[in-house]
C-alpha cells in the first residue's frame, strides 16, 4: 500500500508495479485508475485517510488474494487532488483472467464501501465534506 501527498504519478506507479511482478509469471494485470472529474465547479477533491485501519483493510485483501493465487496493490492520495489528475490506483495480478476480473471488481467496490478515507470537494479554496457521496462503514450505528 502506498500513500502519496497530492496527485498520483499514474505512469510511474503503473510501471513500478509492472516491473515488481515482471518475473512472477502472472498472466493478467488489471489496474484501476481513478481520476478526479471536473464537475459541480470543483477545483479539486481532498482526502483524509486513517492509515492504521486502511492498512488492516488492505492486509485483509492481500490475504484474500493470496488464497486465490493472486496479488493486490493500491495507491491513494492524501490532501488535495486537482481535477483531471488521479487520486486512486488499485491493481490485481493473477495467473488467470477470470480471477483477476472478478477480484478487481470486488476489491474496488469494497474499497469504496469500507476503506477509512474521507472525501471533500474543494471550491473557492474551501473544503466541503462530500456527505451525499459517502457510505457508512459496515457496523455503523453501534454507539447510537
Amino acid at each position: 500500500m502506498e500513500l502519496y501527498r497530492g496527485s498520483l504519478d499514474v505512469e510511474a506507479i503503473f510501471s513500478k508495479w509492472l516491473n515488481e511482478e515482471k518475473n512472477s509469471n502472472y498472466g493478467a494485470y488489471i489496474p484501476f485508475v481513478g481520476t478526479i472529474r471536473a464537475e459541480d465547479e470543483i477545483e479539486a477533491l481532498s482526502f483524509d485517510i486513517y492509515e492504521p485501519i486502511l492498512e488492516q483493510w488492505f492486509q485483509g485483501w492481500v490475504k484474500r488474494a493470496e488464497e486465490l493465487g493472486a496479488k493486490v496493490k493500491m495507491a491513494h492520495a492524501i490532501g488535495d487532488v486537482p481535477v483531471h489528475t488521479s487520486s486512486y490506483i488499485s491493481a490485481v495480478f493473477s495467473p488467470k483472467r477470470r480471477v483477476a476480473l472478478e477480484l478487481i471488481d470486488e476489491f474496488v467496490e469494497d474499497f469504496k464501501a469500507n476503506a477509512p478515507i474521507w472525501k471533500y470537494d474543494v471550491k473557492d479554496g474551501k473544503r466541503i465534506y462530500a456527505e451525499d457521496r459517502s457510505t457508512p462503514m459496515s457496523g455503523s450505528g453501534l454507539l447510537a
Binding site: G34, F47, D48, I49, Y50, P52, I53, Q56, H76, S87, Y88, V108, F111, K112, A113, N114, A115, P116, I117, W118, K119, Y120, Y129, A130, E131, R133, S134, T135, P136, M137, S138, G139, S140, G141, L142, L143, A144
Partner: protein, 73 residues
Amino acid sequence: MVKVEFLGPISQEVLELEAKTLADVATQLQNIETIAPWLEKCAVAVNDQMVSDLSIVLKSGDKISILPPVCGG
C-alpha cells in the same frame, strides 16, 4: 480514562472519558449535542480494530476511533 478520537469531517478534539465498556462511551457521546447526530452513521474501532459489540471491556489508555461515512477513490 480512555481516549475517543473523531476522524475525517467530525470537528471534535480528542475526548478523555471514564468508561468500563463501550456502552459507557456510547451513553456519554449521546449526551454531546454536536456528536450525537453522527453516531447513527459512524463505525467504531478500539485500538485500531473495528468492533461490533457494545459489551467490550475497556482499560485505561484504550483508543476509541469514531469513523464517519467514507468515500475513497
